[in-house]
């Protein structure tokens, strides 16, 4: 997988990324020389046990955290070494986020939340794309409701729509279904899946749920800060198997 495509066809790339917290005795190495590429139009899951560094990897890829060594690219732009202003711009224009919880501003309506990154950038949403996204998210008459009036699943769908609206190079989703029941979770995952299939969106998702991982094109397994395995076209069973094998390995 790695290096099989030209760089400009990659949505995001990590090269020999190290992340070290603290110093001396309190030193914790979260990532040890991770290299990974995420092709455009693909849905990738990052999995691994707690403390494996999967969230750290995602944060570094998204420009939310700095790397100790190595480099990170998003759509051909080197993220490493960017200042706060450039990072803010990058997040605003080229990256979408879906967090596990607390994705929405309580003071804004669902529609306003979806438009927020565009509003901040001072851009107008493309009406056609707006209708497409709103249509697929299926919120319909709840667009003018505030987050407190929406269910957890509806809130996550609003978050997904917000991430999609600016057509970012890549969407990072951190356990997006972690707080949802399985039905609502399945809805979100199908929605993410279809945005990859139908609109060519790139999505990188951190999860520890084999079922969630089975919605993706590829799974990257992390353990102890390093990539230990990869799996294409995963099914819940194949993922589970890999996870068991990993445990034996560790």
């Amino acid at each position: 997988m790695i290096g099989t495509k030209a760089p400009e066809a990659l949505a995001a790339r990590a090269d020999d990324v190290w992340k070290v917290y603290g110093s001396a005795e309190a030193r914790v190495v979260a990532l040890r020389g991770v290299s990974a590429s995420f092709a455009r139009g693909r849905f990738t899951a990052i999995m691994g046990p707690s403390g494996s560094g999967k969230s750290t990897l995602m944060h570094c890829l998204a420009g939310l955290d700095t790397v100790t060594r190595g480099s990170v690219h998003i759509g051909g732009t080197e993220v490493t070494g960017l200042g706060d202003k450039a990072l803010t711009r990058l997040r605003r224009d080229r990256v979408g986020f879906i967090f596990q919880q607390f994705n929405l501003l309580p003071t804004l309506t669902a529609a306003e939340n979806i438009r927020l990154p565009l509003d901040i950038a001072g851009k107008k949403p493309d009406p056609q794309w707006w209708d497409t996204v709103i249509g697929t998210v299926g919120l319909g008459d709840r667009l003018n409701h505030r987050p407190s009036q929406l269910s957890g699943g509806q809130q996550q769908r609003v978050a997904c729509a917000r991430a999609l609206m600016s057509r970012p190079d890549v969407i990072f989703a951190d356990e997006p279904t972690g707080n949802l029941d399985s039905k609502a979770g399945a809805e979100i995952l199908s929605f993410l899946r279809s945005s990859v299939m139908e609109h060519g969106q790139t999505i990188v998702m951190v999860t520890h749920d084999p079922v969630a991982a089975s919605y993706t094109d590829r799974v990257v397994f992390l353990a102890d800060g390093a990539i230990v395995a990869e799996l294409d076209n995963p099914t819940p069973e194949s993922v589970l198997e890999q996870m068991k094998a990993g445990e034996v390995l560790v």
Binding site: R89, F99, T107, L108, L116, A121
Partner: protein
């Protein structure tokens, strides 16, 4: 529970500091007031003890009109010089000295200006040699009638030295003397308590200070060794009879000091009044802080309840926190108050020109009042949040912290009731009883009522205000945030409201009074030129009586009428009276209906005063002036109070018995065809020898008359600035806590691309909206209060209601600026948040 409380308290240092600061500032004023008054009162004790140290017994004629320190300088009744000899023969008297010493000797400095005084008298006296305290620094005492000596304080202030020709204003017109000596006092002091002293020979002192020869103001006595002052006092008293006050030096020191303390008590009350305002505003701040703390600690408190803590324990925990904050803040406030007190005392000392302040002390009253006020205010403010904390159910520990918007019905209804009660109290105080306490209570209760109504008002008003900023995303987010918690926004804004409302109210009253006075002066004063001056010491500025006749004789001048001013007792009641040399012309100058000229033994009274006492033209009144015997005067005419100066007008002959025998105003009317431009320079030349006054045209005079109001407004603005400062702390506090509370939200916003500058703008808009909302409330409430007071004072001559639009606009602009400043730290904090940590923040 105690340990848990203290730990959580220490864990929130910022909140501790901010909410404590309000108490610190309020307590600082309280302690400062006590320390200042205590130190000054000891200063005056020392001063008068010192001043009378060389006097064992003093004999004075009983004053015709007793005047306390609060009402001006006492005018002494002259006593015959021969009395000194009589007293000198009383057994036990070692030495009896005839003394002339009274206020009113104004030295003209080397710059041609009268040496001013901000309180201490300017004594003109006879030279009786030095005593144990006095030390001649240069030269000698005056020996000829053309010579004077002065104390070092005068010499320094006037910039004069031995050998100079020095002009002095007394009861007589300006006269020039040769300065032959300068004296000081022991321990290198230039004066005792900043008193300016000019010593003449005895005959000159008698003529120029008392207006007659052969009289004294007092006889001071040193008793022979081994004699007791009280015994000698009693013997002298028996000898001189009932017309005299015979007192020991100790008695006099105590009496003088006691009078000063009365004046200090007034000063103390003013300071305590402002402390009260500061603490009142501080209460809002503390209430808000504790409410927010309780809201944030919901889970923690619920967990404690789940673990078995009772309601009382929760209340106790919150109140204990309040007590600790109150105690610490009170202690700090006390310390700061001692500093403020020391500063005020030093300021007072240097302003009065040479008062030696006693060492600063901390009276027990300062300590007790600081601690009690600090703790009580904090605890009272924490009671409501504590009760709310106790209602948190243990279940809340398990749930997500969601504080649903509680309905505002109850608080609104309560606010309406309290506000109505406050307005009613204020109305009764203003229109029915005129009781200051009722008025103050009314204002206070009205403020509380309005504060309770504020959450309801805040929704539409904050929304409307915020729309001004809605053109940008950060602005819109800021607006939404400021409308998020109506109670919190309301209390923060209400704190600002109090200060702004008071300032606005005072401005409305003062501007209305000023406008009314100016309009009235504009309507009445017909004189084209007015002679008068600004107050530059305890006595009013005066000028040489001869100027009036000389002015009247100028070509182009039709007439000049002088006005004298002093106190008198009329039919047993002390009052201010005026005198004039030409009532008919004064009536002309004031555009009043014609009045007859007064002859000796006649006076004119205002209709209002006459009606109040049941007098009519022809009634005979007893009049006691500061000097001379009691006389009977007949009312020759009455006039409208608004149309003439003062309530009583006496003929010029009466001014011989005034304490101040020179005119304070001169009203000049020009002849047909003469212009002010021609005549004014000539009148100016005539008053050149009376440097306390100036000749001005009519409009400058009117402006001069209303200038004092601006001074009052400025002073009130400065003092209430403290209350506004505390309110600003409240805005800072609210914002800092909001930023803390919304950490995850800020993280999210930053993650989806909100820049640092935009984040700061968002916080700033929230602050500006809250501040401007508070100022708007303050301006509205203050205008209402001011208008109510103005309406109540209509009968006192304040007929025009002036709303100071410019000032109000200024206050609103200032509030916006305050909002921006208050947002500086919280917005930096918000912008610096680490995005990742903020998202992960629980």
């Amino acid at each position: 529970m105690l340990r848990a409380t203290l730990k959580s308290l220490l864990g929130r240092k910022l909140r501790l500091v901010l909410s404590g600061l309000a108490v610190v500032l309020g307590v600082m004023f309280v302690a400062g007031a006590f320390v200042t008054t205590d130190t000054l009162s000891r200063t005056f004790d020392n001063l008068f003890t010192e001043g009378y140290a060389t006097t064992d017994v003093a004999v004075k004629a009983k004053p015709r009109i007793a005047v306390s320190e609060m009402d001006g300088e006492q005018v002494e009744t002259p006593l015959p010089a021969a009395l000194a000899t009589t007293i000198g023969q009383v057994p036990g008297v070692a030495k009896a000295t005839g003394v002339v010493a009274t206020d009113g000797a104004r030295v003209i400095g080397s710059d041609g200006k009268v040496v001013t005084s901000f309180g201490p008298p300017r004594i003109g006296m006879n030279w009786v040699g030095t005593d144990e305290l006095m030390q001649l620094r240069q030269g000698r005492g005056p020996e000829k009638d053309t010579e004077i000596a002065v104390n070092e304080a005068v010499a320094k202030a006037a910039g004069i030295k031995v050998g100079d020709q020095v002009a002095v204003l007394t009861q007589l017109p300006k006269k020039t003397f040769t300065l032959v000596g300068v004296w000081g006092y022991t321990e290198g002091r230039d004066s005792i308590g900043g008193v300016q002293e000019v010593a003449f020979t005895t005959p000159v002192a008698q003529r120029s200070m008392l207006g007659q020869a052969g009289v004294l103001t007092q006889v001071t006595v040193r008793v022979a060794d081994g004699e007791s002052a009280t015994a000698v006092r009693d013997r002298i008293a028996a000898q001189v009879g009932a017309g005299y006050d015979v007192k020991t030096g100790k008695q006099l020191a105590e009496e003088s000091s006691a009078q000063f303390k009365e004046a200090l008590g007034f000063f103390n009350n003013i300071l305590l009044g402002f402390a009260g305002v500061a603490l009142f505003v501080g209460t809002f701040l503390i209430l808000n802080t504790f409410s927010i703390i309780v809201a944030q600690r919901t889970r923690e408190l619920a967990l404690m309840r789940a673990l078995g803590a009772g309601r009382r324990q929760v209340i106790g925990s919150v109140l204990l926190e309040a007590v600790v904050i109150g105690l610490v803040a009170a202690a700090l406030g006390l310390g700061a108050g001692v500093g403020v007190g020391a500063l005020l005392v030093t300021l007072f000392g240097s302003m009065s020109g040479g008062l030696d302040p006693a060492p600063v002390g901390v009276p027990l009253a300062a300590i007790l009042s600081s601690l009690i006020v600090g703790v009580v205010v904090t605890v009272v403010a924490a009671v409501l949040p504590a009760l709310r904390a106790s209602r948190i159910s243990p279940i809340a520990a398990m749930q997500d912290v969601a504080t649903p918007d509680r309905p505002l019905t109850r608080v609104t209804v309560t606010g309406a009731i309290i506000g109505a009660a406050g307005a009613a109290t204020l109305g009764v105080g203003l229109y029915a009883t005129n009781s200051l306490w009722l008025i103050l209570t009314g204002v206070l209760v009205t403020f509380i009522g309005v504060a309770l109504l504020t959450p309801l008002i805040s929704k539409p008003v904050v929304g409307a205000l915020g729309r001004l900023f809605s053109w940008s995303v950060p602005g819109r987010l800021g607006r939404l945030n400021s409308g998020r918690n109506p109670r919190r926004t309301a209390i923060t804004a209400a704190a600002l409201m109090v200060g702004i409302a008071l300032v606005t109210g005072v401005t409305v009253v003062m501007d209305s009074a000023k406008q009314s006075l100016a309009a009235q002066a504009e309507n009445t004063i017909k004189a084209e030129i007015v002679i008068g001056g600004d107050q530059n010491g305890p006595r009013p500025p005066t000028f040489d009586e001869g100027v009036l006749a000389r002015t009247a004789a100028l070509p182009g001048v039709r007439a000049a009428a002088g006005v004298w001013n002093d106190q008198a007792v009329i039919d047993g009641e002390r009052t201010y009276v005026n005198a004039t040399d030409d009532l008919a012309e004064l009536a002309e100058a004031y555009g009043s209906p014609a009045l007859p000229a007064l002859t000796s033994g006649q006076l004119a009274v205002s209709n209002q005063e006459a009606a109040e006492h049941g007098w009519a033209v022809g009634s005979a009144l007893t009049v006691q002036l500061p000097r001379g015997e009691q006389h009977r005067y007949t009312i020759a005419a009455t006039y409208d109070e608004d149309a003439m100066p003062g309530s009583y007008l006496l003929p010029a002959a009466a001014t011989r018995e005034f304490g101040i025998t020179q005119p304070v105003f001169g009203f000049v009317r020009l002849a047909e065809g003469a212009t002010v431009a021609q005549v004014l320079p000539q009148v100016k030349a005539l008053v050149a020898d009376s440097p306390e006054v100036n000749a001005t045209d009519r409009s400058s005079f009117i402006n001069q008359q209303t200038g004092d109001f601006d001074t009052v407004i400025t002073m009130v603005q400065i003092l209430l600035g403290l209350a506004i400062l505390i309110a600003v702390l409240g805005v800072v506090n609210t914002l800092a806590l909001s930023v803390l509370e919304r950490t995850r939200e800020l993280g999210l916003l930053r993650a989806v691309g909100l820049g640092r500058a935009q984040t700061m703008r968002m916080v700033t808009v929230e602050a500006v909206v809250i501040s401007v909302f508070g100022a708007l409330l303050g301006v509205v409430v203050g205008s209402g209060l001011g208008a109510a007071v103005v309406r109540a004072l209509e009968s006192e001559g304040i007929t025009d209601l002036v709303l100071p639009w410019t000032q109000m606009g200024l206050y609103l602009g200032l509030a916006a600026l305050v909002g921006v400043l208050a947002a500086v730290l919280p917005s930096i904090k918000a912008a610096r948040l680490n995005v990742l940590a903020a998202i992960a923040h629980d």
